[in-house]
């Protein structure tokens, strides 16, 4: 599978300045999967995503995109194959929604091709599928957090990449908007055939939506595979240090994690 997958990393050592986050990491993103990376805070999941999206250059090892080291492609070439929704983005003062989404067309444009008919169609389609078409003429400043996040996602969709990397796309959203966002991702995966990689915080979301789950702790991959086969109470306790029960999600039959009620235990000691 390693040979075939479009995106993989091998022998990765990831570090900021001198601080090493991960060592000898090997990772493969299965094609056409909805891969979700989970793990406790500071386990290196965002760092791994940044390395996969070449925003962080590995100290050692390499990330391969379609069989070639990712850094060996021209920047725009990578951007036509792989899109990234980072944790923080900055919307310039007063920029309009459509204008921002249109910026996702950068890798397809050049000085002589600034706004083709295809650009127009793709931007409209990206806004349609994220449900922000009605906001097209509004300023990004005026939007709510949920709307803004969808606008950013639309911008990445406008990039038209088969691979999409999302760093905590549900942060700052309420439960309804979280589900909207994840449903949208699932649609992109199921109907459009995108390969998605997302970092998520909520284990139950991860189990419900992921087709491939990567569980990380202290910079290493502890387990990976289909959520139903790998997620056990032991694994969660080992990784998060939290005793849990794993039951079946009544809606989707995927694993559902319920923390063990520890209050009774404490009361005994009091």
């Amino acid at each position: 599978m390693t040979q075939d997958a479009r995106l993989s990393g091998r022998d990765l050592t990831l570090a900021y300045d001198q601080r090493v986050i991960s060592r000898d990491l090997a990772v493969t993103i299965p094609d056409n999967s909805f891969t979700v990376i989970v793990g406790p805070n500071a386990c290196g999941k965002s760092t791994l995503l940044r390395a996969l999206s070449r925003t962080l250059k590995p100290a050692e090892g390499s990330v391969l995109l379609d069989g070639q080291v990712i850094g060996s492609y021209p920047a725009k070439e990578v951007a036509r194959r792989l899109g990234l929704l980072p944790q923080t983005s900055i919307a310039p003062d007063g920029i309009g929604v459509a204008d921002l989404v249109a910026r996702g067309r950068f890798p397809h444009q050049s000085f002589l091709r600034q706004w083709s008919a295809q650009d127009e169609a793709v931007v409209a389609e990206a806004m349609e599928s994220t449900g922000v078409s009605a906001l097209a003429d509004r300023s990004v400043d005026e939007l709510s957090g949920g709307q803004r996040q969808r606008v950013w996602l639309a911008m990445v969709l406008a990039q038209q990449t088969p691979l999409l990397l999302l760093d905590e796309p549900t942060t700052y959203l309420d439960i309804a908007h979280q589900m909207d966002m994840l449903d949208l991702c699932a649609d992109l995966h199921a109907e459009r055939g995108h390969t998605l990689v997302a970092v998520l915080h909520d284990l139950n979301h991860a189990c419900r939506y992921a087709t491939h789950l990567i569980v990380m702790k202290d910079g290493t991959i502890v387990a990976e595979g289909e959520p139903a086969t790998i997620v056990t109470a032991d694994l969660v306790e080992k990784v998060f240090g939290l005793p849990v029960r794993v039951i079946e999600d009544p809606e989707t039959a995927t694993p559902m994690i319920v923390p063990v009620d520890r209050r009774g235990v404490r009361r005994v000691h009091d």
Partner: protein, 363 residues
């Protein structure tokens, strides 16, 4: 694939493009360009104002040259004195003003865009401060000619920028550290300058002070050529990088995700913008406020959500050529250094803009 996407949209959807823009496409769709009518109108208006001011500044003065005579004098026809004033004195001076203004405007826009800071300027890396100290040293200690003063300014600026960059380097250069080191070095240079200024002979010190304010008095074809060559060589590089810089305003990760080579863009743009600033300073001294105000004014007039390089360059040129006309005529026959006027006009206009804009309740 594209066809299906388009047809999938509801029929009611209007043809779609970024807000306030017009798109032009060649029949087969190979070429396509995007532009904002408002930006175009503003730019054309700035060109027109600059041109009119240019003609007026060639015509007026203590020695009045009537407008109908000006075109003849430009090509060497007419009375000798007319030709001398037009060709030898006023035209080169006005052209120098336009070139210096454009250089400062576009360089300021680059620094503000890259630092995402409305106060970003070439001073950040100590360039201006070093140039001023180099020039003051050349004037007060060496007692040098104009050319040597210019060379002193360039040398001072380059050495200072290099020193700041080297001192800030430690496991790579962080923006924050660069800025702080720049401030420290600038402060030291300012005190050296203060020392020279307070110990110097009054007349010499005044000469140095006027240089530091920035002046176009007695600038001729040599200076005009120098700054125009600088602009012609360097500005296109920045314009070519302009699109990338607008994307870098979305944040570094987002820009890289879109395929913008952020590091190289940053280094090249900073170096070229510094060189343009150097050319402008060498010719006219560190004229204040143009680099700071021109991009702000341009973006408020064009109402773009970001930096506009062409607009900033044109705005800088307009600002400086108008300011120089005022500097020449306001207290005639005394000529003010143009830096006095740019500060008062530019600052006053910015105050007025902020005042009206905020009264309207918009940030």
């Amino acid at each position: 694939m594209n066809e299906t996407l388009t047809s999938a949209r509801p029929d009611t959807a209007a043809p779609f493009r970024p807000r306030d823009t017009l798109a032009w496409r060649s029949p087969k769709g190979r070429l396509s360009f995007l532009m904002r009518p408002r930006t175009l109108v503003v730019c054309l208006a700035l060109v027109a104002v600059t041109f009119v001011t240019l003609v007026v500044s060639v015509s007026v003065g203590d020695y009045e040259i009537p407008l109908p005579v000006v075109p003849g004098a430009l090509i060497g026809q007419g009375e000798r004195l007319d030709v001398f004033f037009v060709q030898g004195v006023r035209l080169p001076r006005a052209l120098t003003a336009i070139g210096v203004g454009a250089a400062l405007g576009i360089a300021g826009a680059v620094f503000q865009s890259l630092s995402r800071n409305a106060l970003g300027s070439p001073d950040i890396i100590g360039f201006t401060s070093g140039a001023a100290t180099g020039a003051v040293f050349a004037i007060l200690v060496v007692g040098a000619s104009r050319v040597v003063v210019s060379l002193g300014a360039i040398a001072g600026g380059l050495v200072t920028a290099a020193v700041v960059y080297l001192l800030a380097m430690r496991n790579g250069v962080q923006g924050y550290r660069l800025v702080l080191v720049g401030i420290g070095v600038s402060a030291m240079l300012a005190s050296v300058r203060d020392y020279m200024m307070t110990r110097a002979d009054l007349t010499d010190a005044l000469g140095a002070q006027i240089w530091m304010i920035g002046s176009l008095n007695n600038r001729g074809w040599g200076e005009a050529a120098a700054v125009w060559i600088g602009v012609a060589l360097l500005a296109p590089v920045l314009l070519a990088l302009g699109r990338r810089m607008r994307f870098m305003e979305l944040g570094e990760d987002t820009a890289r995700g879109l395929g913008v080579p952020t590091r190289s863009t940053q280094v090249i743009a900073l170096a070229v913008a510094s060189a343009l600033t150097g050319a402008a300073i060498a010719v006219a001294g560190p004229i204040g406020f143009v680099a700071l105000a021109a991009p702000q004014l341009a973006r408020r007039l064009t109402r773009t959500g970001g930096t506009t390089l062409v607009g900033s360059a044109l705005m800088g040129a307009t600002l400086l050529v108008v300011a120089d006309l005022v500097a020449l005529r306001a207290l005639a026959p005394t000529q003010l250094p143009v830096g006095v006027v740019t500060a008062v006009i530019g600052g006053g206009y910015l105050i007025w803009l902020l005042y009206t804009e905020w009264r309207g309740g918009r940030a």
